[in-house]
Symmetry: C2
Subunit: 258 residues, 2 copies
């Protein structure tokens, strides 16, 4: 089996609304002398996808409802931010001072509906929502990356695109990278029916492969101002296929930890 190699694509400029992320990443790949070969995966931080899609909101423009004001006072948060959290959520799962955990409208459980303050704008008061439909964003970018690989090498390479965010977790400290948008790679890999060295069926039946890759890419992205919002991956060992975020989301009625 080959090594798994994750290369941070440095030198991508600060992304603005309307920027062409695919072009910025292709330029970064060129600077890093990396071609796009069959099976390569591009991992993007949600932040640059959201910014390019214009998902910034100026808090001054948000009118909090009575519900938002009440939850804001319970949680010590800005009522306008809480309004955005409510707008982006299907359900409030837990709240306490400083923390609102929701089921995001995209289906996953996350703190503050993934709404981010940092690196949004030099002016105070701007926040960034998650991309509208990360699976679709990933799919659109994948089509263009595959086309670009064909233009350069004569044959279109089968590629994957993963959009990731950092999530806190139940039970364990520290955030980890998780998938929020998937195209061209499996969300989970189903091992049902596979057998161990002695012919017995395996205990763990599904592997959260896209989340494992999100965590891996998060390591090289870094978290601070020197962070790098895109990573090139070579050597992902699972067969690529059309995947989607929903594979990674446990149905509510199957979840004993909500």
């Amino acid at each position: 089996m080959k090594p798994l190699i994750l290369t941070p694509l440095e030198g991508i400029p600060l992304v603005q609304e309307g920027d062409d992320l695919v072009r910025l990443i292709l330029e970064a790949l060129q600077r890093h002398k990396l071609d796009l070969l069959k099976g390569d995966i591009l991992v993007l931080a949600q932040k640059i996808v959201s910014k390019a899609e214009g998902r910034r909101v100026f808090l001054e423009t948000v009118k909090p409802s009575a519900e938002a004001k009440e939850l804001a006072s319970k949680t010590d948060k800005d009522p306008r931010l809480v309004q955005l959290i409510l707008d982006e959520s299907a359900e409030i799962i837990r709240s306490r001072p400083g923390l609102i955990v929701v089921e995001h409208r995209l289906g996953f459980i996350s703190a503050n509906a993934g709404i981010d303050h940092s690196n949004v704008d030099e002016r105070e008061g701007w926040v960034l929502l998650l991309p509208k439909d990360p699976d679709s964003s990933a799919a659109a970018m994948r089509a263009r990356f595959e086309e670009a690989s064909g233009a350069r090498l004569g044959v279109r390479a089968r590629l994957g695109v993963l959009i990731i965010d950092s999530h806190g977790r139940a039970w364990r400290e520290g955030t980890v990278g998780v998938a929020i948008g998937v195209s061209g790679l499996p969300g989970v890999v189903d091992l049902r029916g596979r057998r161990d060295l002695f012919g017995r069926e395996l205990r763990a039946t599904t592997v959260g492969a896209a989340d494992e890759l999100a965590a891996a890419a998060s390591i090289v992205m870094g978290q601070a101002s020197e962070g790098c919002p895109a990573v090139h991956v070579r050597g992902f060992p699972y067969p690529l296929r059309q995947g989607r975020l929903s594979e990674l989301l446990r149905p509510k009625e199957m979840d004993t930890f909500r």
Copy 2:
């Protein structure tokens, strides 16, 4: 920033009680023409550590208590296995048919106390408990790997050793690799005080760096019979320091999802 490179160390023979894992891994490194350089990390599947430490149990030798019998009937499990789960646990967190989630005596939340059936023995009826003290096992191996690097290259390299397992999660489908023993690398990386591009404090204050690396290594280990139980890591970007598992465990009173 450099790429992160994870190389699966293939060709390690089936591990038996008493085997010298450090020697087996050093031999595998040599076959892969990999030296141990400053900052390299070795990631080991818990399974080979447990086997080398003789943590196999033959179920025929286990006498289930009344408590184990009751929980076994509620969860459709072998009462002898349930006895071992109880013995390895501090607390039962959830149970339903097919599932027992516990706080393991090592402090983390896990299904079935991490007790594994697969790849243990060609005979039926053997199971494998987690290592007794994975942090200590990792530390002892790290000392020997560092010594070996010095013997080969003249200067002892500062290294890390991580022991990992695959855990299910709240809310999301699919298992992911997580750290259960840490030596020589940070469990979590604290970003408090760091600022974004515009000088604002970062939202996420701690990163579960060792868990992210565990997930990354898990990708190349694979899960099935062709799995590879040890991985060499080069390019981990966070400064190495003496870390430990407990950094990754949220104190019970701070956890709203138990």
